[in-house]
């Protein structure tokens, strides 16, 4: 193995982490943007290499400084981690080229370089969460990504971005601290923080009160971060008032990485304990996931701001992922994992389409969408295709996810759940249709239907994501192979 393939896992974290302060030194808006874009591109290439390496050679354990786990800190990368790293890096690499114009429009020029710095830090934190094999290290990366995302959200040009960011800060810090409390109790009982080491030592103490409490703390902690219903309160405002490019990036990556962390906790750290059975977690998680799917979709129907509508839809989509995790067989888990990837594509694309609208119109209110089918035909078309993916129509990625989820539910004989998955998708038809109807069948108040399309530099990245959402919907062999492998690796650890 060459130097690069040996160190790819650590480089994917270090490159954006080290590059972030350089953005501050560059100062100049354009230079900082070019630098951040180049770094995002390099990280994306590294993440593809890492994913290929993992698919070919299996799990990779990278020992920091040559210290073996459980003493040293290790990076533990299997198929799921590599896939999540790839999602984060890919979305960053697509959003960065898009971000230039969008951020120039929405944020004062003297703050641009700070945006790009925070962007890279957030990306480093998210990738770090995905690769680390150390439970405390997970907390540190969680805070790196969270703190930078609070800053990014607060930069929105509406003053409500400030309160949204502060509320997210308070709830996010509570969540992270809950995780640390739980982890402290786990450490008291086992004396280790290494995830694979914990997996072997936790079953011995699984019936103690301390571990019961610890488990509740870590699950609620991450439940807050991934916006599991009813812990989602922070999400709608944060996504609505953040700058468009930031929303596109965070909506596509942040919750997914938190879902990954929960997956890691349940299937690796507590893998041999099998918390679904021993702690009765399955019923709770499935119930919350289903509630989230319905509540998120229903609330989305009544929104008047399209960004907020999409944010509520995110809560519903997180429900699908959690459902896939909690059903517990390989097919459903594959569905949950593939939905992490698929949802990143479609929600990223949809929020970028809204960013294009905001760039041209200065608003994402539903009433301002009138006549978009004529005024911004390409953007409106991107929204329609993304909407189709959200609903789960065949030939889009949404169909692939839901296909596996329904199959997973049916494999357990839980046809009511399969039915509810499809019914919740019908609710998605309603909220997507509300936007489409206004875009194509309503005239704007001033009757102005002149062609007024967003700049090509913003449309191309939008269409890259929307195009990928269609491509991986028609040919899902690659994504389903990766997520099937990932599901099997995870389940292999929990027998």
């Amino acid at each position: 193995m060459t130097f690069l393939s040996l160190n790819m896992s650590v480089l994917a974290v270090i490159v954006p982490l080290m590059a972030a302060p350089i953005c501050v030194l560059l100062r100049h808006s354009g230079l900082a943007w070019a630098w951040a874009t180049a770094i995002a591109g390099i990280t994306f290439v590294l993440s593809i290499g890492l994913l290929q390496h993992i698919m070919a050679n299996g799990t990779l354990v990278y020992e920091m400084g040559g210290w073996d786990g459980p003493w040293g800190i290790v990076y533990h990368i299997d198929e799921v981690s590599a896939l999540v790293v790839m999602i984060v890096a890919a979305i960053a690499a697509v959003v960065m080229p898009y971000a230039k114009l969008s951020i120039e429009r929405e944020i004062p020029k003297e703050r641009h370089y700070l945006v790009y710095c925070m962007f890279l830090l957030c990306m480093a934190g998210l990738i770090g969460m995905a690769v680390t094999g150390d439970a405390f290290n997970l907390f540190v990366f969680l805070e790196v990504s969270s703190l930078s995302s609070y800053v990014l959200i607060s930069l929105g040009n509406d003053r409500r971005a400030l309160t949204a960011s502060l509320r997210y800060l308070i709830i996010g810090t509570l969540g992270a601290t809950f995780y640390v409390i739980g982890l402290g109790m786990i450490y008291m009982m086992t004396g280790s923080l290494n995830m694979t080491d914990l997996a072997t030592s936790l079953p011995e103490v699984q019936d103690t009160q301390t571990i019961h409490v610890a488990f509740a703390f870590v699950i609620i902690g991450f439940g807050l971060k991934l916006a599991l219903f009813p812990l989602h309160i922070w999400l709608p405002n944060a996504y609505t008032y953040a700058p468009s490019a930031v929303t596109a990036f965070l909506a596509a990556t942040a919750t997914k990485v938190a879902v990954y962390a929960m997956l890691r906790l349940i299937y690796t750290v507590f893998g041999d304990v099998n918390p679904f059975e021993t702690y009765g977690l399955r019923g709770v998680m499935i119930a919350l996931a289903l509630l989230g799917m319905f509540a998120g979709s229903l609330l989305a129907i009544f929104q008047t701001n399209v960004k907020r509508l999409l944010a509520y839809s995110s809560i519903a989509q997180v429900g699908y992922m959690v459902l896939g995790i909690s059903i517990g067989n390989a097919i459903a888990l594959e569905g949950g994992i593939i939905h992490m990837f698929n949802h990143a594509l479609m929600k990223g694309g949809l929020f970028m389409a809204m960013g294009c609208v905001f760039y041209m119109v200065g608003s994402t209110d539903l009433k301002d969408m009138a006549g978009m089918g004529k005024r911004m035909p390409l953007t409106a078309a991107a929204f329609v295709i993304g909407g189709f993916a959200l609903v789960g129509t065949p030939l889009t990625v949404g169909f692939i996810s839901k296909f596996y989820l329904v199959q997973g539910a049916l494999a357990e004989g839980w046809w009511p759940i399969a039915f509810m998955i499809m019914f919740a998708s019908l609710l998605a038809v309603i909220y997507v249709w509300r936007v489409v109807e206004v875009m194509y069948f309503q005239k704007p108040a001033d009757g102005d239907l002149s062609y007024n399309e967003a700049p090509i530099a913003m449309l191309i990245p939008t269409y890259v994501l929307i195009g990928a959402a269609v491509y991986f919907g028609t040919d899902a062999t690659l994504t389903s192979e990766i997520s099937l492998n990932a599901a099997q690796t995870l389940l292999g650890g929990s027998k």
């Binding site: 907390f139 400030l162 409390i181």
Partner: protein, 121 residues
């Protein structure tokens, strides 16, 4: 049966008290500065928790010397050093946001801010 003996578990009782006080302030107070301070108290309780669990009575620093037989576990202490840094960063960012909120809303009372936001919707 678990022994909730008072003096022996004093540290944990303090942790428990601080944690609940902090959480209560975050939930119940409308003043944003107080919320941030409450969050801080909540975090500090976790620091005390980690530090207490690693301390052994009569234990010293873990130095490889013949005279030292009992030593405290340094790892949780180091972890908390990291967590303190995170806590400081969070507080600083939170307070900075409160300053910006004061500038644009002319108030830092959460209920008043909610009223302003509802009116503007």
């Amino acid at each position: 049966m678990i022994d909730y003996a008072f003096p022996g578990l004093l540290n944990y009782w303090i942790v428990f008290l601080l944690m609940m006080i902090g959480l209560y302030i975050v939930i119940a107070h409308e003043n944003l500065i107080k919320k941030i301070v409450g969050l801080n108290v909540f975090q500090v309780s976790v620091f005390v928790f980690y530090i207490s669990m690693a301390k052994i009575k009569g234990g010293t620093a873990p130095i490889l010397a013949d005279s030292i037989e009992v030593y405290s576990n340094p790892l949780p202490h180091v972890l908390i050093l990291t967590a303190i840094v995170v806590g400081v960063a969070t507080t600083a960012l939170g307070l900075a946001l409160v300053v910006r909120i004061q500038e644009s809303y002319d108030t830092i009372e959460d209920d008043e801010i909610r009223d302003i936001e509802e009116r503007s919707d």
